[in-house]
């Protein structure tokens, strides 16, 4: 992997980068204040922590709606469609090839940002973990209105337990994610890409049609 046969490609649009870092800030804030409310430590004080947590949570909820809107209007949702193709080679890469200096089996391209493992993880995050976290958080926040919403049968204990479990899952993801972004051709390559939008990738790697988010144009009949 030498840089003389690498090209700079524009991988992340301005909105994606904003969304990514905004979400980063919100998640960090929510984790810190959330664990303070959980009783792990004292930083802001319970009252301030609760207010920040509620504020950040509601902000995230609102922003998430914009993200979903962006996802579907741009067709970027196709980047999240899960696949098993090349999955084994990606797993083999991270468990074996990476130690031998082999190239990544699924290099990044504008139309194929996520390798199969990422697709699966990010789909689980965006479609399951984060929505569950937001839903339980919203319910937690609206506890006093449950009766009015016809949700009097809900148990705060259960909602709180799911919310806490979700927090641990997100924290665990965060740890692995922060580590994984160091596995580019340099330690900070992926981080820089998420800041500037531009990522250095190896030139000339063939991207299979199925890996691209674009629908294939119908082939002209011969």
């Amino acid at each position: 992997m030498t840089s003389n046969n690498m090209v700079n490609i524009y991988l992340y649009t301005r909105y994606e980068r904003f969304w990514h870092w905004m979400q980063t800030a919100l998640i960090l804030l929510l984790l810190v204040t959330g664990f303070e409310l959980n009783g792990l430590f004292t930083l802001f004080g319970f009252k301030a922590a609760a207010e920040i947590h509620n504020f950040a949570g509601l902000t995230w909820l609102i922003l998430f709606a914009f993200f979903v809107f962006w996802l579907f209007t741009t067709g970027e949702w196709r980047q999240y469609v899960p696949t098993t193709r090349k999955m084994l080679s990606v797993i083999r890469y991270y468990t074996y090839g990476i130690f031998r200096g082999e190239p990544h089996p699924v290099p990044k391209r504008k139309d194929a940002k996520h390798n199969p493992l990422q697709r699966l993880v990010y789909l689980s995050l965006a479609a399951a973990l984060l929505p569950v976290q937001m839903a339980t958080g919203f319910l937690y926040w609206g506890y006093n209105s449950w009766k009015d919403w016809g949700l009097g049968w809900l148990s705060l204990e259960v909602v709180a337990a799911i919310h806490l479990a979700g927090a641990f899952a997100i924290l665990s993801f965060l740890i692995v994610h922060i580590y994984m972004i160091t596995t580019g051709h340099t330690v900070f390559a992926h981080t820089r890409a998420m800041i500037s939008g531009w990522e250095l990738v190896q030139e000339g790697t063939k991207i299979e049609d199925w890996e691209q988010k674009k629908r294939k144009a119908p082939q002209p009949v011969a």
Partner: protein
């Protein structure tokens, strides 16, 4: 929820009228005054401009200028104009000392068989106890409760501050200057014309004469009522502070024909939680009456607490903040003597910690309350009720529960101690305490069995002859001594693992009750992830080193 208001505005500003906040948010409360909680504004409006309604000057009344020689004569003069007053008053608990909502044959009330763990019961001890009765002559069970002239108008209405009923005089004043051995003070006969002509609406001093000294001394009983409230500052009580609103007791304890608003045994102070907005003639006895149900600024989480947490729980962080209050009274230690004589010992507050007549005491200042679910109703033991001496006997206890919509988490002073009980009949015992040697009174003869036999016989109750002492508890709701808002409890006083509500279980409270299982698994996953990436990273580091070599 009002919380969404501010957030909504913020979101709207950032996202140019964002699309997604649920529409119900739009319909929420408007902020009227940004600088003050609406509940405060409401209460200030409800109490502004104290009006003087008085249209008579009692010092000009000829009937109050004649010569009086006793209290009942003054009462007679009062009733010559206020014909209905005695009849009204005699229907109230201030007169009967019995729960008006229970059949009087059941004798529920301090004038009946209801017990406490201070001086235990009035039966056979009347002359001492009834110095706080607004009447004259309740010296034994033959007192005539229908005699209008036995009503003591003056103790509640006179304003000279010189009218003193003798502590053991069954409600009477003295005819000659007399020293009371119990406190060494000299009691003087009243200047009848001066006190009679001074009458007015009851002030803190009138009410406090008895209610600040319940149990026979300053701050013995309540914890949130003692002589420090005669002239409190705002720091001690935001409502009564002479440097602030300067409320009298009757400002909140509103009165109709001598019937004063407040809790009466198992009857809550108010059956409905209404503010003056909903019912402008509602009694002003509750915080909600003037401050409304959501008194804090819109969006403040405390507004969401008012359905389950009483205002008092957060706004009275501690009671007995100026004067100490009695927390423990062990009658079983009574009777010790020095050189064959009864004696007293004082504690660091100058309060008795031992008294041969009464046993051992513990006093405390600045006490954090205990918290229980409370719907405004207190229940108590009578001398007829069966007890379980195997555990602490609750002599009185709050009624309520987490699933009762009328219950709130409420602060209490719990007075504990040891009081006598009948080992065979399993009842509490009414001891005959006050009396001269030879009468069976404990304070005369220092003999518990005689005292118990005498007291129980007087009350018409069986006594087996076998007695011992059992640990007891007695509760007082804490509702006075409301502190300034900046002294209200911090969230973490309760929202914590070992907070003030640690003993109130059965419901989920954030900050206290997070699932242990999920925390164990959660941290295992988090540390597992950390270990995983560390090992993987180490592997990469080593592999790269090898390759470079």
């Amino acid at each position: 929820m009002e919380g969404c208001n501010r957030i909504w505005r913020w979101a709207a500003a950032v996202f140019f009228g964002a699309l997604v906040l649920p529409s119900w948010c739009l319909a929420q409360t408007q902020v009227l005054d940004e600088n003050q909680a609406p509940g405060r504004t409401m209460a200030q409006q409800a109490t502004k401009g104290p009006q003087i309604w008085i249209t008579a000057d009692h010092s000009l009344h000829p009937v109050l200028q004649k010569t009086f020689t006793s209290g009942p004569e003054v009462t007679e003069a009062c009733l010559s104009c206020h014909e209905l007053a005695a009849g009204q008053f005699q229907k109230t608990i201030h007169w009967s000392w019995l729960d008006p909502n229970v059949d009087s044959k059941m004798k529920v009330g301090k004038g009946g068989l209801t017990m406490n763990n201070f001086c235990i019961n009035l039966q056979s001890n009347e002359p001492r106890c009834t110095s706080c009765h607004a009447g004259y002559g309740w010296k034994d069970k033959n007192f005539d409760f229908s005699n209008p002239h036995a009503v003591d108008c003056l103790v509640c209405h006179e304003q000279t501050g010189t009218y003193k009923k003798f502590p053991t005089g069954a409600g009477f004043t003295v005819d000659q200057p007399t020293v009371f051995k119990g406190n060494g003070k000299t009691y003087k006969p009243p200047e009848w014309n001066a006190v009679a002509q001074s009458v007015s609406r009851p002030t803190r001093k009138n009410c406090g004469t008895c209610h600040f000294f319940g149990g026979g001394g300053d701050g013995v009983k309540h914890g949130d009522l003692d002589s420090s409230l005669m002239k409190p500052n705002k720091e001690l009580d935001v409502h009564m502070g002479v440097d602030g609103q300067n409320f009298d007791c009757v400002r909140c304890h509103t009165t109709e024909v001598h019937s004063i608003a407040g809790r009466i045994y198992s009857t809550p102070a108010a059956m409905e939680r209404k503010s003056l907005i909903e019912d402008d003639l509602a009694p002003k006895i509750m915080c909600e009456s003037c401050h409304s149900r959501t008194p804090h600024k819109p969006g403040v989480k405390a507004n969401d607490h008012t359905d389950k947490v009483a205002c008092q729980s957060c706004h009275i962080p501690t009671f007995a903040r100026v004067n100490p209050t009695k927390m423990w009274w062990d009658w079983s230690k009574a009777g010790q003597k020095k050189d064959g004589k009864p004696y007293q010992e004082k504690d660091e507050f100058g309060k008795p910690k031992y008294d041969s007549k009464k046993g051992e005491f513990r006093w405390a200042k600045n006490v954090a309350p205990e918290y229980f679910w409370f719907n405004g109703s207190l229940k108590g033991l009578t001398a007829k009720d069966t007890i379980d001496p195997g555990k602490t006997v609750a002599v009185s206890w709050p009624v309520g529960g987490k699933d009762d919509a009328n219950s709130r988490i409420f602060p209490f002073k719990v007075h504990r101690g040891k009081t006598p009980y009948d080992k065979i009949n399993k009842t509490m015992v009414i001891p005959h305490l006050f009396g001269k040697p030879g009468t069976g009174a404990y304070w005369g003869d220092f003999d518990w069995k005689k005292s118990a036999a005498s007291g129980m016989a007087y009350a018409g109750l069986p006594f087996s002859g076998e007695m011992d002492f059992v640990e007891t508890s007695y509760v007082f709701p804490i509702t006075h001594m409301v502190a300034p808002k900046n002294k209200a409890l911090k969230c973490s006083e309760c929202h914590a693992k070992n907070g003030r509500l640690a003993n109130l279980t059965g419901f989920y409270m954030p900050g206290r009750d997070a699932s242990k299982v999920i925390q164990y698994i959660g941290w295992a996953v988090v540390f597992g992830s950390l270990a995983g990436v560390f090992i993987h990273g180490l592997g990469r580091y080593i592999a790269r080193g090898r390759k470079e070599r």
